[in-house]
């Protein structure tokens, strides 16, 4: 196992969780962060689906990396991602119909997630399959935790619930508290992501631009 989890692999996995986070540092995948974070549940499932798909498409591209003609590499990457996403969505429809109904358009949206193309182009094209797999997992989780944090605040203050369960007591509503409608609207996701970036950069001074 010592060979499998070398220091480099560890760095590849941990980097995207913080110092090289796809959302807060690379600012990729913002569009889906707006779309699916109004509630916790879709955010979590989206995060997991993206993680799985980044990891496996990274492996496939990494295996093919020496054979892919340079001029059509983006197309090849796109075909691999699109094929994987289609297969995942077909399998969900057959074996987890309820989940696939809930996710509806989000599954298709994964294809357009820039993190996928970004990792394939930047990492998988130049690294071995195992490292690419770990890189995919790292970036997927890096993406997922930001989504979950944003969704937590949006659902809590926008709907007063978490995972669909009411957490803000009825007594508070009776006392005049109202849900913040702005939280449910997409702009609030951007504002929350910006807040996370702010906190993140003030704690990691080396990320600040001069």
């Amino acid at each position: 196992m010592s060979k499998l989890i070398s220091d480099k692999t560890k760095a590849v996995f941990l980097g995207p969780l913080s110092k090289n986070n796809p959302i807060t540092v690379q600012v990729l995948g913002i569009c889906s962060a707006l779309a699916v974070t109004a509630k916790l549940e879709p955010a979590l499932v989206m995060g997991l689906s993206v993680t799985i798909i980044v990891a496996f498409s990274n492996v496939i591209i990494s295996l093919l990396r020496n054979t892919i003609p340079n001029r059509i590499r983006i197309i090849v990457q796109l075909v691999v991602v699109a094929a994987l996403v289609t297969i995942v969505s077909e399998i969900l429809k057959a074996f987890a119909y309820d989940v696939s109904v809930q996710l509806s358009v989000y599954i298709g949206l994964i294809i357009t997630n820039c993190i996928l193309m970004g990792r394939l182009e930047a990492f998988a094209m130049g690294n071995k399959p195992w490292e690419s797999f770990v890189d995919g997992l790292g970036n997927g989780f890096g993406y997922a935790w930001i989504l979950v944090v944003v969704a937590f605040f949006r659902e809590l203050f926008g709907s007063g619930s978490l995972f669909g369960f009411q957490v803000i007591p009825q007594a508070l509503y009776d006392a005049g508290y109202v849900n913040n409608g702005l939280m449910i609207l997409p702009p609030m996701a951007l504002i929350l992501v910006a807040c996370i970036i702010w906190v993140h950069r003030s704690r990691n001074k080396e990320l600040q631009e001069k």
Binding site: V36, A38, K39, P42, N66, T67, I68, P69, N70, R71, I72, I75, V76, V79, A83, T86, I87, E90, I91, K93, A94, F95, Y97, V101, S104, V105, R154, E155, G158, S159, G181, I184, L185
Partner: protein, 232 residues
């Protein structure tokens, strides 16, 4: 190997496309049967939901067979075209809605719950981003609502998508689709505080006005097709 040659690129692209196409075709055709069964089961669950039947952890298909005693295909003049079970269920409602109203074949499900007859009308309409659909169950008087179920393809989570919540669907229970003068008026979905004249109403979803109005339009147009049947 020189991977930059034109011929290599062309062959690579062709082979890749063929392999991927074969793979997708294989996956799609091998899963088709299970998927169709899922869609049918889901439809049965939706119909049961409109009857307020809890199928959680039970065999929904068996419950469907138990409660739904008749499936009718009728037309807008209330003539029954078919009583064979399965005909109404397999009917492509979306295709029928595209035809002129006189030619439409309309599915109608009749259920027996605790000795009472319920009439279930399928609904189909448009929300803000995509289609919305559902089922509405009427009591024996063919007027008051026994239960309703709505779902959607892509409404905004937290806003329009709330029509799929039981709390919204329960608001329709007990409302009448005919007014005091026995005219068909359907049920209005209004912004809270606004009053609809001469008809029953429920509160819409704040922030989901277009979807709420979509539900209202869907109820009016879909139940409207059955007016002749519901009046006698």
């Amino acid at each position: 190997m020189n991977t930059n040659k034109n011929s290599y690129t062309l062959i690579y692209a062709t082979v890749m496309v063929i392999i991927v196409a074969l793979m997708l075709a294989l996956v799609s055709s091998s899963l088709k049967g299970i998927q169709t069964a899922n869609v049918e089961l889901d439809k049965k669950k939706q119909i049961l939901s409109s009857l307020n039947v809890n199928f959680e952890g039970q065999d929904a298909a068996a419950l469907y067979d138990k409660y739904i005693v008749k499936e009718l295909v009728i037309n807008s003049n209330a003539e029954v075209l078919s009583e064979v079970k399965g005909d109404a269920f397999k009917l492509d409602y979306i295709k029928e809605l595209a035809k002129p109203i006189q030619e439409r074949k309309l599915p109608l499900y009749i259920a027996q719950i605790e000795g009472e007859t319920k009439y279930i009308i399928p609904l189909r309409g448009a929300g803000l981003w995509g289609p919305i659909w559902g089922y509405i169950a009427l009591n024996e008087d063919k007027n008051t609502v026994y239960g309703s179920f709505y779902s959607h393809a892509s409404e905004t989570p937290g806003l329009g998508a709330e029509i799929a919540q039981t709390s919204f669907q329960q608001k329709f229970v007990g409302k009448s689709i005919f007014n005091d003068k026995e005219e068909f008026v359907s049920i209005a979905v209004m912004k809270s505080g606004q009053i609809a004249e001469n008809q029953d109403q429920v509160d819409g979803i704040s922030g989901g006005t277009i979807t709420s109005k979509g539900v209202e339009k869907m109820l009016l147009s879909c139940i409207g097709q059955y007016e002749a049947y519901l009046k006698n």
